[in-house]
Symmetry: C2
Subunit: 452 residues, 2 copies
């Protein structure tokens, strides 16, 4: 592709990752005199802030996903490539996708984060996290299966374990999950079972610090905790998880240690950088922090490589505050848009001041009717915070049909206290119905399906 002016080949911008960082960078380059290639492992952009709603059966994956090709189809200078970047050659200025080589003049790496189990990777099988659509579908399956299992369980202790839900991590994700599961137990599913009373479910939210939602103002943390307690969630702060094994969570509060029997343990506690961080570090000599995030310059580039940028959860930007910017969607979005603007300025021989994140505030929802919103100068709680939360999330959904569908779904769920998307689906057939077996979840080693 050549540019219109002088038949020189266009400046090639390659973007790795179609999340908030990469996709908004691509959108901001729509009219630029560059050629853009966006590479992602998936064919869609995922609105991660609402993933917990898929996990709790309120929304479908497609309601919060936008096909990348569709979002960028009008960007005639942009092509989308489905694939996984396995290596980078900074000297040769190219990335490797399988056997294919894709050259770049400017590279933007925005591959995001994945869950961290603080070194205890064995916990992952027992305590899944929530980063991808498949994570959400699996979490959904476990949550709804737990009620099904409790319904047919005759042993009281085992039934209690099925009706005990433990969420590890008191940040926005954990708070939102806990609130949603409490609503399921106390409202949505109340009339659906005959042998159990779903409102007897225990939902525990465990947080290591002294309050939930640590980044928020203290009075909002308090308001959130009160709302959660009213919904029926048992909030346990200053509580560390020391082991997860055999459907048991070992927790430590001060000096006391105890065990909780739970068949449904959900992880919302830690993230670390996607492994692309290591690849970049090896290939460019970039430094990474302890979570594997790449430390970037004030303009989001890598030291010594002014044409390689890192944005989003993979980047550690510490030039504005004492601590690095948090791994949240608005940060990734602004960083992506900044880099896109910078590229265009640089092509004209101009420059920009260093990146500066405009913090519009934080928000977290606690069930229906209640949320906390920290805008710095204004703090909202309760009903108006909740309305604000809804509006902001609708606003930031990319595709217009998603906005409409999500609004309709939310209105429906609100007025009927129902959740329409609570399917239990699986790639494998539901093979395990003898629930006494602790290998409840379908796996290669579980019983083979009866050919019925």
């Amino acid at each position: 592709m050549v540019d219109a002016h002088n038949n020189n080949p266009l400046h090639q911008v390659v973007i790795v990752g179609g999340g908030f960082g990469g996709l908004y960078a691509a959108k901001a380059l729509k009219k630029a005199d560059v050629s853009v290639t966006l590479i992602d492992k998936r064919n869609f952009h995922l609105f991660q802030p609402l993933l917990y709603q898929v996990a709790t059966g309120a929304l479908s994956p497609a309601d919060i996903s936008s096909p990348l090709r569709s979002v960028l189809s009008k960007s005639k200078n942009t092509k989308v490539r489905l694939g996984e970047v396995n290596d980078i050659d900074p000297k040769g200025q190219k990335v490797m996708v399988g056997d294919e080589i894709i050259p770049y003049d400017t590279l933007i790496v925005a591959t995001g984060a994945k869950h961290s189990y603080f070194g205890k990777d064995s916990w992952e099988a027992s305590a899944p996290g929530l980063k991808t659509v498949e994570d959400a579908i699996e979490m959904r399956r476990r949550i709804f299966m737990a009620f099904e299992a409790a319904e047919k369980e005759t042993d009281a202790e085992k039934r209690r374990a099925w009706l005990t839900f433990v969420i590890v991590g008191g940040g926005p994700t954990g708070v939102e999950l806990a609130g949603a599961i409490a609503e399921l137990a106390n409202q949505t599913l109340k009339e659906d079972f005959r042998n159990i009373d779903t409102s007897e479910a225990r939902i525990l939210l465990l947080e290591g610090m002294d309050r939930i939602l640590p980044p928020f103002a203290p009075e909002l943390s308090q308001a959130a905790e009160t709302s959660l307690m009213q919904l029926g969630v048992l909030v346990q702060t200053k509580t560390m998880v020391t082991n997860i094994e055999n459907d048991t969570v070992t927790i430590k509060q001060g000096d006391s240690v105890r065990e909780l029997a739970s068949k449904t343990i959900l992880w919302a506690a830690g993230v670390k950088a996607n492994a692309m961080g290591k690849v970049l570090a090896e290939r460019t000599g970039a430094e990474c922090d302890r979570a594997g995030r790449v430390i970037v310059e004030p303009d989001l580039s890598i030291k010594g490589h002014s044409n390689i940028f890192v944005v989003g959860d993979l980047a550690n930007f510490s030039h504005q505050n004492a601590k690095p910017l948090p791994g949240v969607a608005p940060v990734a979005k602004q960083e992506g848009e900044y880099v896109a603007t910078l590229i265009q300025k640089q092509l004209k021989g101009e420059t920009l001041p260093q990146f500066n994140y405009t913090d519009h505030g934080s928000l977290a929802i606690i069930g229906q009717n209640s949320a906390v919103v920290d805008l710095g100068f204004i703090k909202l709680q309760g009903f108006f915070a909740w309305l604000f939360w809804l509006i902001i999330h609708i606003y930031f959904l990319i595709e217009f049909d998603n906005k409409i569908v999500v609004m309709i779904q939310w209105a429906w769920n609100y007025f009927t206290r129902n959740r329409g998307a609570r399917l239990i689906t699986s790639q494998k057939p539901l093979i395990q119905v003898g629930i006494e077996d602790s290998n409840y979840y379908p796996s290669e080693t579980a019983k083979q399906p009866l050919n019925v």
Copy 2:
């Protein structure tokens, strides 16, 4: 549970299967003086007629599914049991679900059908069918992956194979799939790719008989074929498939045999009874037909077992017409409702005339704006048939929120020619991006994911 009148234990009705037959039987028993247990492998009722829309990215699974507990939550005499029936004891009047025994006074078996490959079960891996949500998600994955693969394929012949879609079976499912894929190629995806022109895709619909939609009136079959050709589908009648192997379909037309290279082969050609048919036959001595369906009496019971009924796709009811009633949703629905009414009559010492199916007609849609509707005395085609098709399907969706969401989705898809639900999702991570490998689809034997 005892009845209100005389403290005798209530008559226990056990229903196996929550599809059109089983679920409508359960709904019709809501006010009856019986205790109902509905057993299903899944926790939701699936509106199968719209499954092809999930497979082609127009709707999400939840849009056409209704959680069984939710649908039946107001039926206080009804409990739902998630599980798989593996055996029946007609003498002891009980069914076995794993280790659990569930006794019945009346049993209704409504477990449906699965795909038949006419003895060539090896074809199934290459040519998936469309019966479950997981089938639809897998089909969706293959369809959209084919375009992605073509986009990066440099070899012209391989690219052609990626852009060749073969649908086997010219009944309503095959016709609707073919029409939807043609729309994808010629409209929805037209602007989304840069290296390929998606409208160059070849979509072939293969039918063994001399016309597609054989159950419809001949002029409607002709109208459907014309509409499909206008959409860009190559309809091949009197065409038998003799082999499917290695991304190649071998077809026989008259005496000539030829091979088609296609990476996406979809099966809509044959069904046979679910294996519960065999179980019933062995345990009750019931006769089955060649497709494994259980031959039933005029009141839908099994010969010699007046308290065991079979309804839906599993039943062969031949007391009305020369041929057995077709395996379609309205038949299953009416059969289920009939049995429910009969049970209530019998409890009062009364009876009913034999089952009589009221055929309200058949319909099939061909892309947007066109359908064929055969109501016997009236035949519709084109735009008004299409409107009628939409209204009927909305009407028969069970849950009100599904009706609203599907209407919104359809309106959106119609006006934007877009499809919002075209995610490629998988239980396993997308591990295979070197598409030259014929083992394209993730499987245990394919390359392990790079930990990126």
